[in-house]
Symmetry: D4
Subunit: 222 residues, 8 copies
Amino acid sequence: MAELDHDRARRRGYAEAVFCEGKSPAQLRAIATALRERHADGAPAGARTLFTRADEERAAAILDVLPDARHEPEARLLAWPPEPPEPTGGLVVVACAGTSDLPVAREAELTARYLGRRTELVVDVGIAGLHRILARVDTLRRAAAIVVVAGMDGALPGVVAGLVSAPVVAVPTSVGYGASFQGMAALLTMLNSCAPGVGVVNIDNGYGGGHLAAQIAAPRPE
Amino acid sequence: MAELDHDRARRRGYAEAVFCEGKSPAQLRAIATALRERHADGAPAGARTLFTRADEERAAAILDVLPDARHEPEARLLAWPPEPPEPTGGLVVVACAGTSDLPVAREAELTARYLGRRTELVVDVGIAGLHRILARVDTLRRAAAIVVVAGMDGALPGVVAGLVSAPVVAVPTSVGYGASFQGMAALLTMLNSCAPGVGVVNIDNGYGGGHLAAQIAAPRPE
Amino acid sequence: MAELDHDRARRRGYAEAVFCEGKSPAQLRAIATALRERHADGAPAGARTLFTRADEERAAAILDVLPDARHEPEARLLAWPPEPPEPTGGLVVVACAGTSDLPVAREAELTARYLGRRTELVVDVGIAGLHRILARVDTLRRAAAIVVVAGMDGALPGVVAGLVSAPVVAVPTSVGYGASFQGMAALLTMLNSCAPGVGVVNIDNGYGGGHLAAQIAAPRPE
Amino acid sequence: MAELDHDRARRRGYAEAVFCEGKSPAQLRAIATALRERHADGAPAGARTLFTRADEERAAAILDVLPDARHEPEARLLAWPPEPPEPTGGLVVVACAGTSDLPVAREAELTARYLGRRTELVVDVGIAGLHRILARVDTLRRAAAIVVVAGMDGALPGVVAGLVSAPVVAVPTSVGYGASFQGMAALLTMLNSCAPGVGVVNIDNGYGGGHLAAQIAAPRPE
Amino acid sequence: MAELDHDRARRRGYAEAVFCEGKSPAQLRAIATALRERHADGAPAGARTLFTRADEERAAAILDVLPDARHEPEARLLAWPPEPPEPTGGLVVVACAGTSDLPVAREAELTARYLGRRTELVVDVGIAGLHRILARVDTLRRAAAIVVVAGMDGALPGVVAGLVSAPVVAVPTSVGYGASFQGMAALLTMLNSCAPGVGVVNIDNGYGGGHLAAQIAAPRPE
Amino acid sequence: MAELDHDRARRRGYAEAVFCEGKSPAQLRAIATALRERHADGAPAGARTLFTRADEERAAAILDVLPDARHEPEARLLAWPPEPPEPTGGLVVVACAGTSDLPVAREAELTARYLGRRTELVVDVGIAGLHRILARVDTLRRAAAIVVVAGMDGALPGVVAGLVSAPVVAVPTSVGYGASFQGMAALLTMLNSCAPGVGVVNIDNGYGGGHLAAQIAAPRPE
Amino acid sequence: MAELDHDRARRRGYAEAVFCEGKSPAQLRAIATALRERHADGAPAGARTLFTRADEERAAAILDVLPDARHEPEARLLAWPPEPPEPTGGLVVVACAGTSDLPVAREAELTARYLGRRTELVVDVGIAGLHRILARVDTLRRAAAIVVVAGMDGALPGVVAGLVSAPVVAVPTSVGYGASFQGMAALLTMLNSCAPGVGVVNIDNGYGGGHLAAQIAAPRPE
Amino acid sequence: MAELDHDRARRRGYAEAVFCEGKSPAQLRAIATALRERHADGAPAGARTLFTRADEERAAAILDVLPDARHEPEARLLAWPPEPPEPTGGLVVVACAGTSDLPVAREAELTARYLGRRTELVVDVGIAGLHRILARVDTLRRAAAIVVVAGMDGALPGVVAGLVSAPVVAVPTSVGYGASFQGMAALLTMLNSCAPGVGVVNIDNGYGGGHLAAQIAAPRPE
């Protein structure tokens, strides 16, 4: 099955990811150790590993083994080796509706950066005050791909998609209460967006949103 | 129980309503006949009856008995006596996102008018092209109550509520397909609106939306 | 975009709100500090800030910075400056079905008061003993807007709407168990209310319910 | 397994039932023929058969074979032999909220009567006008069991249970639209009733509601 | 409204109930104190109070004030005065499918007993081993009302209803995992029971199930 | 990828299947023609094709091209060549709760037979009358695999699994109404079965149920 | 608001779309007439209009006015002017799992082509026979964007995303029955895809899927 | 009812099971004591007991009484007597998609082994990298029954069923987040599997999956 070429993504500079939620600190320590040993004489160019959804306890276990990893607590993300690759391709803009959506937005932004894109973050541009997003239209229009992160009513991606011609990756968050049903309301809003050009990922999936945007904004194969 | 005063609403000029869906044409003919006989020597001032959700067959049965009733086929509504009352209170603006939402929007507008309010209708102002609703902000700000009708992503009421200080009555519609789940997506969006000042009614409930708006915009009791 | 006039609401006396759930005590301390500094020489008339959904730890962080803020622990609400504005407009009555619904009802009542309305609270008038709500009909009929808060079967708003001509703002609560599905049963009941004149807000959204009622009962623009 | 005594119910006077929905007219004709032949020399006392949910076409097929069966088109029910048994036990009152709930209410009432109870029907007593149900409290209090049939908000059974000490059998109906979700909203309301003493059956299950009420009001075994 | 006679239930011997979940120990202490003071010279015959869903902390608060109350920890129930009334009416049998359903079953049984019925408890008769329930048919057939408590597949009430002619009150429990959806699967099973004669109450509502059974088995008014 | 050996199933005697629902009569005619031409000089041993979910119009189109196909209208199934293979392996028993479940049960039975198993059908053994299924225990115990088909409460598979040691394949049907939610209630019941040994397939999936049972009862590879 | 530049998308060659479902033939005729008149002296380069979800009756109404429009009945799509633009940007591959998914897949493909991309269609590559999709890996890897259309289990997009490095746009379809819940099962599968790089659009939204893919594969702005 | 033969399963070598979740350590200690006493002079051949879903605290209580029980903490399972029976019948292969699914997979494997089958475990073969499962096809094809355990998109069982002719028992897990809805997404995917031959058990039900597979792979009765 070697011809299935499962290393292709990595060779093109995409980082591997370890989803930490549901793994014990001991398991993560083992994974980190294996990683360190595999690259004992220096990680090859482009071979990066992201640890996603790592709470403080899990992050500490990883840092124990890979003390030079970069740790972004708000995004619950660690990267090793710590420097992102030299950016290529187009700009990825990550916009989020409210400050509570920020952890997911940061996870998306850092993922895109570690997959090799330039990124910009636009925060607190929810639709309850339209002037905020309208004031950022120029930034949005410079993007090759836009990640829009929103909880509660989840209306921001549809508004953004109506303002730009770049593809929008919509990330619903579980921010909200009651009839937000842990993000399902925002998810449904995004799937029903009146404006075309919106692709949706799972609730709170900042990693997935950033990954897809990085693929969209990647330098064209040839 | 006479002191419960169930005629109070009518004396204040609110029309009675007959929900036609699920009633047979024969039943509606009987109701219309009883109504005509009750007011054989002319309907008293303010005593109006609305027939809601009347399809062509049911409308014909009613018109058979009350040939001078006003029939609005798009809104599936009939009113008898046909003239709305002299308007009092504040302005009710009804805004709708798409042309498919128009029947529900018209039902809301006519209900408010027959309950005694001045009304204006604003159509095709969905958020996929924000300039459309922004161009109508002046109209929206003249309203004492705004009914916003939207299907699919249901995002319009939240946008409107962020632009005005009047109360917004949100009416989700079943317009859409797939993950709109017959209007549930729009309903959830409206309940999770980031902007305060939005009260939601049942899916496709144009009558209820217009009624609530008419109550909000009513002349103050004293 | 200055013409979008996002300060309009505040100039008319509506308080700003900070939703504390999901914000860290440190973040709230920073927000409170910024607020204090902005109004170092006294808050301008009408410029009030509400902190909603603040548990004990978050309330302590805010009080640390704004020791003169008013703290209502049951409603999980803080207000600064502590005095509500001089009331204008109509009366807002807040009715709740059971004692477990009281925190949400109090949040609604205090919100309406800080937005400038007179308020009255009617408690423990659930429909299992109809005589309780019937005994309060006079109070209900004096209101320009009524907030009805109920969990479990959520039937109270529909009963109230049938007794009055003022608009009813229905707030479902997550009080209940089993097939109450964290308030969804009450929410659906309210959306399906047989009596017209009911606008529904999100589950447990006392702030939103009080805000909408305050808007409805506001003094008419002109 | 003869000792399982599956004929016990019939010997106590309970009718057998044939659910017609989903059976073809030919199948029903065959069932009716078998029934007629089994009782060629007269049905034994107490041996009654109810055909439930029979539309016009199915009813015609049954009447073809059993021309003396009693046919109640509104309730979509046929009974053979046509006379109900002499009533015993307590009174069963069937109350329904709106006229659209009437077919289900009639099915419940006729079922209880054919199972041997006296019945009374109370119609159009929805909670949007409380005076209607309050005016019938005396009738309700004479009942040994009360069936309450309601669609939309489904709030009537809880109100009735708070007014009486007899058990209430609640039958939600699919009457409504939008967020009634084909009767699910009414079902949930009834399951969450604040007043104890409410047992719920399936949506539109008038037969089941009448059957349970007839069992509750049955003469005590000894 | 005095003629609404809300004391009627109590005069007939039905206990009052205080739902403890969601009330603080301090609130419960206050309620218990008021109760003790109201009956300072001895509780009148028939005036009993049940405290339901009381965990250890809440039970301790109540026992602090009413040390002679009867406390049944498994059923999370307290009764004061501690002795149930002299039983009247028919027998209430409470059957439960598994040992995990026992707390709810005991709550149902004790409720029925404190409302004045004789009770019997039948445990561990789930349908995975049919011989267990078949061996108890004689007991079931002596009952005037049967409460059947079951989680997971919730199939037991339908099986029991097919074996007896008494009414069955079905209480779904949240026992289970995965696709039991906290009792919703059992609830739906019971609502769809093939055998007529099953009335369903809310998930885990042992109190409601016992109350309804006690009403069904009550001595006939006259 | 030839080594993936996708013809393996067919060589072992499993029939191919064409799902007719959603295909036009013209498309089915084309498929049947291709099939006939492929086997112009006689279908090889073991090469059978089943057409499933074929209504009258679709069946006619197929019979037009393959007039010697066997058509089972109740099961909505056609087989070509018409004779099932010589049976091998163990016995497959198909049991169904009610007569409305019969079409799905027959589809399961015929599928198992065309995949090469002996089959027996047991009908109308719903749990509302337990004596019916208990009377068939001997038949059930002779089976190597049992398919149990049930709608409404879906309780039969769990009862059967408690009586035998063979694997049970549970097929929920959409038979029912109201809270059966088109078979979801039955599906959940089966997934929550208290007795181990139940594997569930999709609602109304008689083909899948029969196929799985045929695989279970297949002669062991070697 | 002219600076919002809502014509930007069209100038870049994106077609306008008219969603025909829920519009009457008369309305569509009016829209087509307005379109024809606007471009009376020839449609400007790049100004194309797509009519989506047009059944036979609606298509006839449009062709009546615009007889030279291209009509693709399977995809329920019409385009006017009929020729797609000269393709630019990368290749869009549309893959679909089963033949029943073909109409949605064709809608996606034609949309992408009318928005200016080269397209290829890969059909009948469902995961029940993995060799089919593995045989097409070379085609998939030539794409700049891949649309994957699947109903039932919806597993194909995740498999494809694991084989390529281009972004995958997943379009769930309502193909299926029972627990497919009109496409919700497929939708959830796609949102939970283990492989990153999948953006999901609404159920049956071939237009939206093709549009997003065309944006992803567009020539880079500069 | 002795002829119902409920000991049959045990005589054929199937272990009894005690579901520990929801039982207190004290209850489990009592059950273990009863077990030890029943078999004071040695457990008879084939009489094994499995304790499932035992967390550390519950496991300690059981080991206190039965110190020689085998404890598998990852699978949360204890077995007493500790040795599995001599294997008979066919091979059971348990495959799982990700390492987070491993506890459920191990529970399935150990259950099958204690019911008397040979087992093999295949881990980390999720479909995001197809080469992993394709590399294990030989192992899969040696199985008489295959248990496939998967969370998130739940797509693995359908892929496996397309590669083998043995029956597949699918066990969805609650591994995932957001729109996985605690395993419901995986459950639906498995029920909608395009490949026939998949029987599904409850979410996280490793015990049930292993039990069913052991029955399928059992030596044929005669």
